[in-house]
Symmetry: C3
């Protein structure tokens, strides 16, 4: 990666560490050759330049330390102990920290802000804003955005180019909508949200009733009259869709993190701090607890209740409620194709195979 900051603007390491929460860094073991480096960015152990900081979260990556060009590396205390014995004169500065991934995240956040262009609030002249909408004077409305009647956009919030906010949409403070996000009428989003491009919140849930008065097999539409309510500190990935409720609302709790191309059906409730990886589908009216993690491409049927602290493996289909915390999995193990064919053929005869084993057991006894 190219350096994030011009080296002349890069902070000294000690300045950078003053910007992270005190207590996170246990101590700093300075390099003898370059005790106070400037830090222009971050990099992986393999690819960091001499102007960058790196980190190591697991002893299995120790060998990379011998090759890294990084001028400073965040290390776990146990790794520091090993290094102190083998390389007492460090070639790079070692920053000892019990939570190296968290410290890396904080330093990364610092650079992310430092590299951003200056924030200039205002409404782009090509945007179409209804006169009844209330837009904070510190908000930014991008080109070609459309803001409907009675919308509210809070302080420091950014509405990207080409976003569409239908009537009565509310966005809290310090939230970012990337370009081309659609919010249907009445959707509410809390503070500090990050909503990526292509997201659609509040489209109609999939609700139909068989209507024989129309024609054989025809479906009558059930209007979807609820809305979508998004809590604070929620991130929603690109092209994800969350449908509006039929009668009640669809509710996403505080701190929920949702990856790309996730689909959440009408009337679902997602508990606080639950993380949902890409391509997950959650069918209508299902309730997911707090602090759950749902692996990529997992699917959850409708009208289920998933408790708190449940961890679902990627690709798993959940077709019954789960009330105990723990990890749950259901994936057909892959194999070389011909081997799969042989075993899959038996899967379709398992019930018979069990009977044959029972018969053998009976005969034996």
């Amino acid at each position: 990666m190219p350096a994030l900051l011009d080296p002349a603007r890069a902070p000294f390491l000690s300045e950078l560490l003053r910007a992270v929460p005190s207590g996170l860094v246990q101590r700093v073991v300075s390099s003898s050759t370059q005790p106070e480096p400037r830090i222009a960015g971050l990099g992986s152990l393999e690819h960091a330049s001499e102007l960058e900081i790196s980190f190591i979260v697991h002893p299995k990556y120790l060998e990379h330390l011998t090759h890294t060009r990084a001028c400073a590396v965040i290390v776990l205390p146990e790794i520091e102990e090993m290094l102190a014995q083998t390389i007492p004169e460090p070639l790079f500065t070692r920053i000892v920290c019990k939570h190296p991934y968290l410290l890396y995240a904080r330093i990364s956040q610092w650079f992310d802000w430092a590299r951003r262009p200056a924030y200039e609030p205002g409404i782009h002249p090509s945007a179409i804003v209804d006169p009844t909408a209330i837009i904070s004077s510190s908000a930014l409305i991008g080109p070609h955005a459309v803001i409907g009647a009675r919308c509210v956009v809070g302080a420091m919030s950014q509405i990207g180019a080409g976003c569409f906010l239908d009537e009565d949409v509310e966005i809290g403070a310090s939230s970012v909508l990337y370009p081309r996000v659609t919010l249907y009428y009445g959707v509410k989003v809390g503070d500090r949200a990050i909503i990526h491009s292509g997201v659609v919140l509040g489209a109609d849930g999939f609700g139909f009733a068989p209507d024989p008065s129309l024609s054989k097999g025809a479906w009558g539409k059930i209007p979807q009259l609820g809305v979508v309510l998004i809590g604070h500190d929620v991130e929603i990935g690109a092209n994800t869709t969350i449908d509006r409720g039929a009668l009640d609302n669809t509710v996403i709790g505080d701190g929920v993190k949702i990856d790309n191309q996730v689909m959440i059906g009408h009337n679902c409730k997602i508990g606080d701090h639950t993380a949902i990886a890409a391509c997950v589908g959650i069918a209508g009216s299902t309730m997911v607890g707090s602090r759950c993690t749902i692996g990529g491409m997992a699917g959850i049927s409708g009208h289920l209740v998933i408790g708190d602290d449940v961890h679902i493996s990627g690709g798993t289909g959940i077709i019954a409620s789960i009330d105990q915390p723990g990890r749950y999995t259901g994936v057909f193990p892959f194999a070389e194709h011909k081997e799969w064919q042989r075993n899959a053929a038996v899967v379709m005869q398992l019930s018979g195979l069990r009977k044959r084993v029972r018969a053998l057991e009976r005969d034996e006894s």
Copy 2:
């Protein structure tokens, strides 16, 4: 949910019931305390207010009836019989109906129209409309929409903000395209369609031929020269994609209902009144019959024929044609992770296990 209508504008129950098809309501058993309530909206039994109507579709929800605040409840005849014996003096008005879900749908439709802002046809000044396009004078073209040469938009149809209609696109009457829908050249949509935000109709199908003249392993593009034809009364959910045909067209029948993030490949045909839940993928050239239902995240391979009245469970992979009506399933049952590991390990040895059972059977005989 907040009341849909101002109570002062809310209809009396008898007015509301006159708006639904005659014959749908069997009879009305009025509440002794409030024989002619005003209805300001709908709600679930648990959350309805005193100004709202609710419904009960299954006896298992009977206990909610003792707590509901709804002033009127749609009930099945068999539930009414039970209630008539236990609560002859009803606290809420009971509307007896053999199809409570359908009646709820019809009343919901009434409120959906009543709550909508007045419809004002016209072309927004920021829209870019080709002079050769034919736009009905009763149609509505939203801000920043782009309408290409020779397009046709029928009476009362709405094209949302930021929609893009390439050349020769045709939209029938009374259809709604929500914002940010893309229709590639030549796509045709029938009457009364509802197409949600982010939908892409008519992008190129995935067609390539190995082209060794380019380089080892290279793919040559096969242009996709067919179009997408959408019937009448079709609904298509947010961020769904339906690809154009390679030589023939991709065809979606009348009354088909498609949920969000569905992918339908080139040259597919979907029969009338088939319903496809979210995240389903149907590979190219597959034909699905009429009145089928396809559960969420199911996948269907290409070049298959699925007959009429086939019901595919969510998450199922269909890798062969189906000519008999019925329900089909193929999902690895989920379990606590360690239990799954133990069983999945045996799945990969099933062929061997069957041989061992055979050997035991031989030895025994």
Copy 3:
């Protein structure tokens, strides 16, 4: 399909064949009735008109030849031999070719260009282009597109309506972005790319670190500081998303073909000429080799290494690295629902069943 070209503008067959690479056609066996037809388009054997050319790639479709109306058909040498014996006086002109699918692709490409409207470069007046962006004078920028600071758009490239290019985006020559594509800051796309509507390149990867300083279970965001690099000759299907890297970049090789609604996580590398069918998900940091094919709805876990020439069947979940070329599969075979239920119940007891077989074997010996 309606004829692609007005018959008066349609080329003679001999003209058309001069436009494809020499050597591809072995010989032409002319129809006695119409030795030099005009070709107005292409069609399948079943649906081609008398003005169209068709092709047959497999003897199993031979019966269609007796009914086709096509005036010329591309045939394999072995099919020509069969025809020469049975129908020496051909009703249609037979074009003998060892790679009929490739020849069809080339002729299809010829018609695709012939039918396209004339290309008119220029920047639409409604587009918003930053003054520091460098736009080739032969490029086309569509209505309502937004081009950020320091972007570069190469010769003959087309940026569709409503596309958004954030700062420092670079597009090579002869690339096409269909309407409503979003490229986040710093994304680079090579030459001759085709990127379909709704694609989002460079949204943030899904990176979070548990941050107990915020609240119980809370996630702290890890800024995603890498970019997405797309090679030459890449096609990306509608509504596909490819996330930017966290520290390193996400890299898509030359000639890679990606279908609709694919999700590629941060830091992935995809090797040259790999083809990825619709709805595939590839989790972060996974490396996929060259010339692989990945079937629709397959999922690949994160941090894996998939070698060259690996073919993954649709719907398969890959949860371990693969270093040998070959075909890999893992799909639960579908069945009529009750049969599935019987067999799936045994899947959850397989570990026990194996123990019972072992016990029987022990007892026997």
